[in-house]
């Protein structure tokens, strides 16, 4: 019997032919979107409805959530971000059933409710690279609904600075006989640059409204507190300078924004310019503008873009990755890979840390997802190239034969002892443990495992976990910087003082920092307006951040 080796290709042709009835070439009028989707999607399909960390295929999401559930149902959603209401509506309305994703952010609480109510069958919560990897293994989409700024009539797409996940999604879909549908803001005769080649795109829909992008990486310097500045000073002096960290990634919290704003002032005073923080895997944080303008930064590759930063990045092509057209090209998969293998340090916040140093952003009733932090914040065992920072970290933690010593990534958690509403950030047991039990997860969600963490920075001091040799030492090191939380007050004072003598715990005074010197006057910019001024007017702050 003859084997049919082209079932997928045949299936693709059938769907394309059916869909092309609603198209003029590749172009589909926006009002025909619903019937197009009902034609090219089949029950049970794996669908990537492009919902990235930042940009959203919001129009296609709305339309997909409005299709007839008797025709389209049991979809398996495979996408990095569950961010829009429409994403959850798919499950509420019975259009989709199964979910594999990475990040949920603002929908974390609604997602937890839908899971509890049995509306969603959860595959797994992934990191970005992990989900992308599975696109090429066992979660390849049948249909990808993607988003770009512009298209030409041949389907060539220009994503603008928010390229993000699109090349990865299209690669997996188009070369495995899937169907690619793109929503775009504009149809043009010629796109400024080709981010996605037209032969990988089947249908293009121009929408009335430009697609939605959330300014996720803008931290208003006006909200940075003196204690965050103190933590930033300790991190710069006690970690960046000590290890000579040049290649790094920052999380999005206020303490790291404070570090960015202290480089041109406090960092300059310490004589660190050129010696630290020169190469970055980083979204275009507006708070890094003063450091860039002061000549600290040589190069930045970005996962995505940031609202208002387009003109600035275009004008700073020596620093950012910019196409010949003059606009930023971001790429989440590439940048995650850079963060995993080419960064010597990750530093970021989280929501809870336990006594082993495990951290989680899953607090009661919220499934926040992982995003990229677990990859940024893990020591890649596949790394083989040495740097001084990596080797020094390795030396501190290594007990074995020096000849075969490997280096280590610095993974720094920078987190105040208390969070919103006096909730302790340092706890005996992560909330995610109880949540996993309640939702019957096979795996407790952990953002960064304790054995990957090298340092914890709080307003009370720095705990160097690399130097700890026993779990008891680790526990006391964490308690010793956990301030007045129950965990902190439960410390063994003698043990903590012993750790301090060994340099495992370092207080501000141990680092030669006067806590009262931690003033907002040290910030290179104290407001969003200051950032605009630093940029020479090139940074256009989103309206919600303005106070002018």
């Amino acid at each position: 019997m003859l084997t049919d080796w082209e079932k997928q290709r045949t299936e693709r042709r059938t769907r394309l032919e059916a869909g092309s009835r609603y198209a003029n070439g590749k172009l589909v009028a926006s009002e025909k979107t619903k019937v197009l989707l009902e034609t090219v999607i089949r029950p049970g399909d794996r669908i990537c409805l492009e919902g990235d960390n930042q940009k959203q295929a919001d129009f296609l999401a709305e339309v997909l959530a409005s299709v007839d559930p008797s025709r389209i149902h049991d979809l398996h959603i495979v996408q990095s971000g569950i961010v829009l209401q429409a994403h959850l509506d798919l499950f509420e309305r019975g259009i989709a059933r199964k979910l594999d994703f990475s990040y949920s952010g603002p929908q974390g609480a609604a997602l937890a409710r839908a899971l509890t109510a049995g509306k969603i069958e959860l595959g797994a919560v992934h990191t970005y690279i992990e989900l992308f990897a599975r696109y090429f293994m066992d979660l390849t989409p049948h249909v990808a609904l993607i988003v770009a700024r512009q298209a030409d009539r041949d389907g060539n797409l220009y994503t603008g600075p928010n390229t993000e996940d699109t090349p990865t999604i299209v690669e997996a879909t188009a070369f495995k006989s899937g169907i690619v549908v793109a929503q775009v803001n504009e149809i043009v005769d010629k796109v400024p640059r080709v981010d996605i080649a037209g032969d990988q795109v089947d249908f293009v829909i121009r929408t009335e409204k430009p697609f939605y992008v959330e300014p996720l990486f803008t931290r208003d310097p006006a909200s940075i507190t003196e204690n965050q500045i103190l933590m930033a000073m300790m991190a710069i002096k006690g970690i960046y300078a000590e290890y000579g960290v040049k290649r790094l990634n920052h999380g999005i919290g206020f303490p790291t924004a404070a570090i960015e704003l202290l480089l041109p002032t406090y960092g300059e005073q310490l004589g660190l310019k050129g010696k630290i923080a020169t190469h970055w895997a980083l979204n275009p944080h507006p708070s890094l503008i003063p450091a860039i303008e002061s000549g600290w930064v040589q190069q930045i590759h970005s996962f995505g873009s940031e609202v208002g930063m387009d003109d600035y990045m275009s004008a700073r092509s020596d620093v950012y990755f910019v196409g010949d057209d003059g606009s930023l090209r971001s790429n989440r998969l590439m940048c995650q890979t850079a963060g995993l293998y080419a960064c010597d340090m990750f530093i970021g916040s989280t929501l809870q840390i336990d006594l082993e140093g495990n951290s989680s952003t899953f607090t009661s009733g919220r499934i926040a997802g992982f995003g990229g932090a677990p990859n940024m914040g893990s020591d890649a065992h596949g790394r083989r190239h040495p740097t001084p920072a990596w080797l020094k970290a390795g030396r501190e933690s290594w007990d074995g034969d020096r000849k075969l010593m490997r280096g280590r990534k610095l993974v720094v958690q920078i987190l105040e002892t208390f969070g919103e509403k006096m909730a302790p950030n340092y706890v005996e047991t992560l909330d995610s443990v109880a949540m996993a039990e309640k939702l019957k997860f096979d795996l407790v969600p952990v953002m960064i495992y304790g054995d990957d963490v090298s340092h914890i920075v709080t307003e009370e001091g720095i705990a160097n976990l690399l130097l700890c040799r026993t779990s008891a030492e680790r526990e006391q090191a964490i308690r010793g910087v956990a301030g007045f939380t129950d965990v902190g007050r439960g410390r063994d004072r003698k043990a903590v003082e012993a750790l301090r003598r060994r340099g495992i715990i370092r207080r501000p005074e141990d680092l030669g920092i006067d806590p009262l010197a931690a003033s907002r006057q040290l910030l290179a910019a104290r407001s969003i307006k200051d950032l605009v001024t630093w940029s020479g007017g090139l940074y256009q702050a989103p309206s919600k951040f303005r106070n002018w």
Binding site: T265, L522, A524, R526, G537, S543, N547, W548
Partner: protein, 307 residues
């Protein structure tokens, strides 16, 4: 590139009420009246489960401005939005009455009001409202006695509600870019009239409607300064020298000025519409200019003696 944001230049917007006074007046010249150690705390807040402030959110006293005696009152915009309560308002009333009483003797050369307020404190709304009316009355009497009163606005709470009305009762008004001077707050308008009428989250719009640049260009403020405390000091020094008197001539001129504004711009919906009618270059860009470029715009709006 050198640091365009001066790290040691004290910023009005960032500063507390006390820091503003310290930077505004001659060093160590400030003497506070009814200071925090006297604990004139609002008795009305506890029933709302709120803790008070030892100065009830306003610092009043006297000091010197380039050697000249002045009275000063500064609202703390971060304590309950700088709102007027019973004690808070009465402290301002008291210092204004003292200024008037001293007019013929060794009274102050001027009174400086550092407004930073959302308006009436709702937990003591009636007392706050009445205090505002008493302040308006006292401002008029101080001005009638020949003592200029300057309003200095550039804090995070702006000058809303009665604070906006008091501002416009002063002899001269100084604003910096962050200032908003208005009666109804954008959120209040949005809640009452809908988001179509006023989208309070569109912050650029908020500043185009209530902000310093709009006020300055249409004559609602007399001086626009860059944001340092020193800039406010210099403006205050210059303005107390030539403040308008409070009399029929001034008010008739103000009547004329305000009528003309309505006639010229009454059908405008947004600030660029006004700026276009004024013949200003690139009206859409004015909100985006830096302070130096903005100050280079020559207009007639702010240049008047009718307040």
């Amino acid at each position: 590139m050198s640091n365009p944001v001066q790290p040691n230049e004290a910023d009005w917007y960032e500063a507390s009420a006390r820091e503003r006074i310290d930077g505004l007046l001659d060093p160590k010249s400030f003497v506070e009246f009814l200071g925090p150690e006297q604990r004139a705390v609002s008795p009305h807040l506890a029933q709302f489960d709120l803790t008070g402030a030892f100065d009830d959110g306003i610092v009043v006293g006297r000091g010197r401005l380039d050697g000249q005696e002045v009275f000063v009152a500064a609202q703390e915009g971060r304590f309950l939005g700088g709102a007027f309560g019973e004690v808070h308002g009465a402290k301002l009333v008291g210092i204004l009455r003292a200024a008037r009483d001293g007019a013929n003797n060794d009274g102050p050369r001027a009174v400086l009001l550092l407004l930073d307020t959302g308006g009436v404190r709702l937990q003591e709304a009636n007392a706050g409202e009445l205090a505002i009316s008493e302040i308006v009355d006292a401002v008029v009497k101080v001005r009638s006695a020949g003592i200029p009163i300057l309003a200095l606005v550039g804090g995070r709470a702006g000058a809303f509600g009665g604070g906006g009305i008091i501002t416009a009762c002063c002899s001269r008004i100084v604003v910096s870019e962050h200032a908003r001077v208005s009666v109804s707050g954008p959120e209040v308008i949005e809640i009452n009239k809908g988001v179509e009428e006023f989208d309070s989250r569109d912050r650029a719009l908020v500043w185009r409607v209530c902000g310093a640049r709009t006020r300055y260009l249409t004559g609602g403020a007399d001086r626009y300064v860059k944001g340092s405390i020193r800039d406010f000091r210099e403006a205050a020094l210059a303005l107390i020298r030539n403040a308008p008197s409070f009399d029929l001539v001034t008010l008739v001129a103000e009547q004329q000025r305000l009528m003309e504004r309505l006639q010229r711009f009454g059908d405008c919906r947004d600030a660029p519409d006004i700026w276009r009618k004024m013949g200003l270059p690139e009206p859409e860009r004015i909100a985006e200019l830096d302070d130096d470029a903005f100050l280079a715009i020559r207009t007639k709006g702010a240049d008047h003696d009718a307040r």
